[in-house]
């Protein structure tokens, strides 16, 4: 059960121009009832974290098809933490080899999604994670 609309920032960090996946996922998450902000292309990690803070989002999803994922995920997270946004659910996808995905996931990043993932699976996963978080927050207060 979702209490309020989940706010998602879909970001394209770095110089990568492939935005089909980002835009497809952004449109689909809107169809699943989330509020979605799309950063547009060629954003720096700083700019993405800044928008995430301004918009007070719950989730940041990065789409990276440039091979620069090992550099960009940690940089975006560091910039989020700097702005007091370390709590956001940081996820993403793209052309990311499986061992890099595992390395990122075991390094404390959220689940990453590879090519061929149905948008429904991404939406359900985000909803599930947010419900868990909200339930935990509710139990604390």
């Amino acid at each position: 059960m979702t209490l309020r609309k989940i706010r998602v920032l879909v970001g394209k960090p770095g110089l990568d121009g492939h935005d089909r996946g980002a835009k497809t996922v952004a449109s689909a998450l809107r169809d699943y009832g989330m509020e979605v902000i799309y950063t547009g292309l060629h954003q720096t990690p700083e700019a993405i974290a800044e928008i995430a803070a301004q918009e007070d989002v719950d989730v940041v999803g990065l789409s990276i098809l440039s091979g620069a994922h090992m550099a960009l995920f940690p940089r975006v997270r560091a910039e989020l933490v700097k702005r007091g946004m370390g709590h956001v659910l940081l996820t993403g996808g793209g052309i990311i080899p499986q061992d890099d995905m595992q390395a990122l996931e075991s390094g404390g990043y959220a689940k990453l999604f590879g090519p061929g993932t149905p948008t429904e699976a991404i939406a359900k996963w985000i909803q599930g994670e947010m419900e868990k978080r909200w339930k935990a927050e509710g139990a604390q207060s």
């Binding site: 547009g40 440039s66 091979g67 620069a68 080899p97 061992d99 061929g116 149905p118 948008t119």
Partner: protein
């Protein structure tokens, strides 16, 4: 009509009605019978579905309107050029891959650049961090270009360079590199993609706004017509439009609309259409819908021939011809069960050949996971060689010409393209339509329609939404880029800046700035700057300072 003919006509009408009855009564599989682009398909095509006279719609190969091919002999004289797109890491590593491909029977080179190069940043720029050499080769200077082409005879090999925003700068590096090898620019053969309009629409590696970018393109057309006459100055590309999600008809329409805009700009700059139009080439996607793709290639040739002759007044038949490169569809490949991609690529390559392509890149099976390994690239190249040598399809010109289905599809795609041309015209032309985000929205609409079709199961993808296997871990070996490439590039650039004649480099950049404010040919200034060891980023910075940055319209 004599009695016999009338009799046989009546019989065939009866036969058709009989077939229709049987067809209607029979049970069908419960799926949507549509093309990959979502267009409804009839179960059968016949003479009634094909309008038009043979002479005006098809003609003979090598003659107007070129529906059946641009050469009278097609592959009986010369097979298509097998041209695998390659580039990764440093110039030295890519030079080795080029030599590997040439040694295995590849007949032309095709260069993939990394994102910093595509966006006009040097390898040591802050924006380049983590991206150097990742998706292509890093080329920041003439010195890098010399390493890339080291030991490759530039007068003999034709080279294609996939770059757009800074294309004129990279072309300048290439021309200057040839001059250092002692090769007259008149002997250089190859292609620079240089198609900025589709960058704004689909691929998104741009440098400056549309108007100054189009001026640089006409500068390239003007310079090459005189000094580099065998060079293809623009490869007008549908590939990226399609990969971004468009349908076949949209790919066809937007690509040709962009092409017509370049022709208008060239004419407006005072060039004679027959001086530059023969050096325009095309680049299309070959996707999974076998017949739709073949029809698309045939329609492209016919539309362009008509437009160039009848709308733009070109007199030289070479101006009327669509000569094109094809790449199989990267988006059709799956990360799941990646070996299946070899099969998909083979069908797509076959469609390109039956559609009369001049050159072809076949994707490697591992490209949804990383850049390809040598083994995967070799299988992809061998796929083309099997088509060329073993299956006997290249002996007959336009073998599907006259197929009711393929002719009907060709006509339909031409009509759909014409509807888009009219809409683009209504919006004030292709630049205005792009700045309004219209073309991007059309592509996006098709992309999400396809995704929805896959998710509801009406379009099948083997290994993804049917015949799924539980896969644990990567099943094939992957190619990894060494992060040391970035450091090496940074050191090379520092050394270049230290060793060069600083005053000469500064003068060359000042000359570019002056040319930006005036009318002088920018490509000439870029060649001089290349020889003065100015870097890509330095030249691009002058352009960005003079012309500003491009801002994408918000469509989502």
């Amino acid at each position: 009509m004599n009695n016999d003919a009338r009799q046989s006509n009546v019989q065939s009408i009866d036969a058709r009605a009989l077939w229709q009855q049987e067809f209607d009564a029979a049970k069908k599989r419960g799926i949507e019978f549509t093309s990959l682009s979502g267009a409804p398909l009839q179960p059968l095509y016949g003479p009634e579905d094909v309008q038009g006279e043979f002479e005006s719609q098809l003609g003979y190969p090598g003659s107007f309107p070129y529906t059946r091919g641009v050469h009278p002999t097609m592959y009986r004289s010369r097979l298509w050029t097998m041209r695998q797109f390659a580039g990764f890491g440093s110039a030295r590593q890519t030079n080795e891959r080029f030599k590997f491909l040439l040694a295995h029977g590849q007949t032309g080179l095709s260069t993939a650049f990394d994102f910093p190069t595509l966006m006009g940043y040097d390898s040591d720029h802050a924006h380049s961090l983590g991206e150097v050499g990742q998706v292509g080769v890093a080329i920041s200077s003439l010195a890098d270009m010399e390493v890339l082409m080291g030991g490759i005879p530039m007068a003999e090999v034709s080279t294609s360079m996939t770059i757009n925003g800074p294309a004129p700068i990279l072309l300048a590096f290439y021309i200057a590199c040839g001059e250092r090898q002692g090769v007259d620019p008149k002997l250089l053969r190859g292609t620079v993609q240089n198609d900025i309009l589709k960058e704004y629409q689909a691929q998104h590696a741009w440098l400056i706004p549309a108007e100054p970018a189009l001026r640089m393109i006409t500068d390239v057309m003007g310079h090459c017509a005189k000094h580099v006459p065998q060079w293809n100055t623009i490869s007008i590309s549908g590939y990226h439009i399609r990969e971004a999600g468009s349908t076949a008809a949209q790919e066809l329409a937007f690509t040709l609309a962009n092409g017509m805009e370049y022709v208008r700009r060239g004419k407006a700059a005072g060039l004679d259409v027959d001086e530059f139009a023969p050096r325009l080439s095309f680049f299309f996607d070959s996707h999974l819908d076998f017949f739709e793709e073949i029809a698309k290639f045939r329609a492209a040739r016919r539309i362009w021939a008509r437009k160039l002759r009848d709308t733009f007044g070109a007199k030289d038949p070479r101006s009327w011809m669509v000569r094109f490169h094809t790449q199989t569809a990267g988006v059709s490949l799956t990360a799941q069960q990646p070996e299946n991609n070899i099969v998909r690529t083979a069908f797509e390559a076959l469609a390109a050949v039956l559609g009369g392509t001049q050159s072809l890149h076949t994707n490697s099976m591992d490209e949804t996971l990383s850049l390809p390994t040598e083994k995967a690239v070799k299988i992809a190249l061998r796929t083309q060689q099997v088509i060329a040598e073993e299956i006997e399809v290249a002996h007959v010109i336009d073998p599907l010409g006259g197929s009711y289905y393929v002719e009907a599809l060709t006509n339909r795609l031409e009509a759909e393209a014409e509807r888009y041309f009219a809409e683009i015209e209504r919006r004030g032309g292709v630049v205005a339509a792009t700045e309004q985000g219209y073309i991007q929205k059309e592509i996006h609409r098709s992309a999400i329609a396809y995704q929805a079709a896959v998710e509801r199961g009406s379009k099948k993808v083997v290994g993804v939404n049917c015949y799924v296997e539980d896969e644990k871990g990567p099943t094939i070996e992957l190619h990894k880029i060494d992060p040391a490439v970035e450091r090496e590039q940074q050191q090379r650039l520092a050394e270049l800046r230290r060793k060069r004649d600083a005053a000469k480099a500064k003068r060359a950049l000042d000359d570019i700035r002056d040319a930006c404010k005036g009318q002088d040919n920018l490509l000439e200034r870029f060649i001089a700057a290349a020889h003065a060891d100015c870097t890509l980023g330095e030249i691009a910075d002058v352009l960005r300072a003079e012309f500003g940055h491009y801002k994408e319209p918000k469509i989502l």
